[in-house]
């Protein structure tokens, strides 16, 4: 009976840890999972393993995960190109070398955040209004608009260092998000 309960609890807590929306909660669920695991080891007459699991699973790895989570921040970039029917590797490659890679390098090395790029062909205004990206690259003809929040320190740094990040910035325009909402449309 005890065995059944503890094993089912293990599976349930593992599912909680995997499907939780919040990483912090996942870490706590993992700690609880380790605790239940230690109980299971105890039930199977392995107290040595149970102590090791309790010391490492509950203590060490939980604290390690918490500190790691505190350190890694994700910076979310969205690339919008409305003129493309279906995105493929060529379209992404055309902007990759000139724009995305230098920006990723800048974010990683100078700002120390994890860059995360997504691509879409939805209308830029829709993306701006509905989705909460840190930075949006919008390609319209030859011009590239960079949308971002004026209060965001990382975005300020990107704008300030834009001439070092991107060698050819003739076709680049910077738009702060507040202006967009005031005017109702970009530019």
């Amino acid at each position: 009976m005890f065995e059944t309960i503890i094993l089912i609890t293990l599976v349930v807590i593992a599912c909680f840890a995997v499907f939780s929306d919040n990483l912090l909660r996942s870490i706590i669920y993992l700690g609880v999972f380790s605790l239940a695991m230690a109980l299971a080891y105890l039930h199977y007459n392995a107290p040595d393993v149970a102590i090791a699991e309790a010391a490492i699973g509950v203590g060490l790895s939980t604290v390690m995960y918490l500190v790691a989570l505190k350190k890694v921040s994700v910076y979310d970039i969205c690339y919008v190109n409305e003129n493309i029917e279906q995105f493929n590797d060529d379209h992404i490659g055309s902007i990759m070398d000139s724009f995305v890679r230098p920006m990723e390098l800048f974010l990683e090395r100078t700002e120390e955040v994890e860059p995360q790029i997504s691509y879409t062909n939805h209308p830029a205004l829709e993306v701006l209004a509905d989705e909460n990206h840190d930075c949006i690259l919008h390609r319209d003809g030859d011009l590239i608009y960079i949308y971002g929040d004026a209060n965001d320190r990382i975005f300020q740094d990107i704008i300030a260092n834009l001439n070092t990040i991107i060698p050819d910035m003739k076709d680049v325009r910077v738009v702060f998000k507040k202006e967009v909402s005031l005017n109702g449309q970009a530019e």
Binding site: D48, A52, A55, G59, V63, M64, A68, K71
Partner: protein, 240 residues
Amino acid sequence: MARQSNSYIHILRIVLAVVGAAVMLFVYLNHSEKLNTPLMDFFTDDFLAQTGADNAVAAIYLNYRVFDTLFEALMLMVSVMEVINVSWANKHSDRYQLEEDDMYYKNNSELVARMVGIVYPFVILLGLYIIANGHVSPGGGFQGGAILATALISRYLVYPNFDLDLHIIEKMEKILFLFIVLTPVLYVFMQIQPDNTVISHQVYMVFMNTLIGLKVFFGLSIIFYRFVFYEGADNTFIDR
């Protein structure tokens, strides 16, 4: 032609995998051999008199199979050296200096600080108890060392500064490893024992557990502090 031969190889691989699985299943389902338990008898018959440990697990990892323990200790030491010498921060150390500690204080929760302050001595006590009683009750050097390392790491939550010299700790870990290799080589392999009694064996057990516990404590602390203070900076200004 090339594509055709590729597909043949592909089919051949699948057939081999299926045949292998069938053979495995057949052997597994049809085995009739009954083994006795010679190893279990050897390990559990008379371990108290032979090794001085009340705990059969300690008897196995500190006496019967101490060779395994040596390589486990070596593995932890190699991973610590890897973390220190091959880490990403080493190449960029000129750009990523240690930060001054004043920026950390504002993040600390009063609740966490006070609770950890209360629990801290008990955690250390528990770690020492588990190390010292490794040969009697469940536990041992590794578990006790991990608990001690947890105590040091929880110190980081309260008072996150960096007043430890990692290089000295790394040196001490290597010296401890030397002793960990030397002690069983002399005591178990070469049988240089002052006395072939339970007391003598117990002293050996406690000594070995202490060495292993300290080594694990140093190793895990080095790994943690290295990751915390060198790998990436604390992005406190991003409000997420």
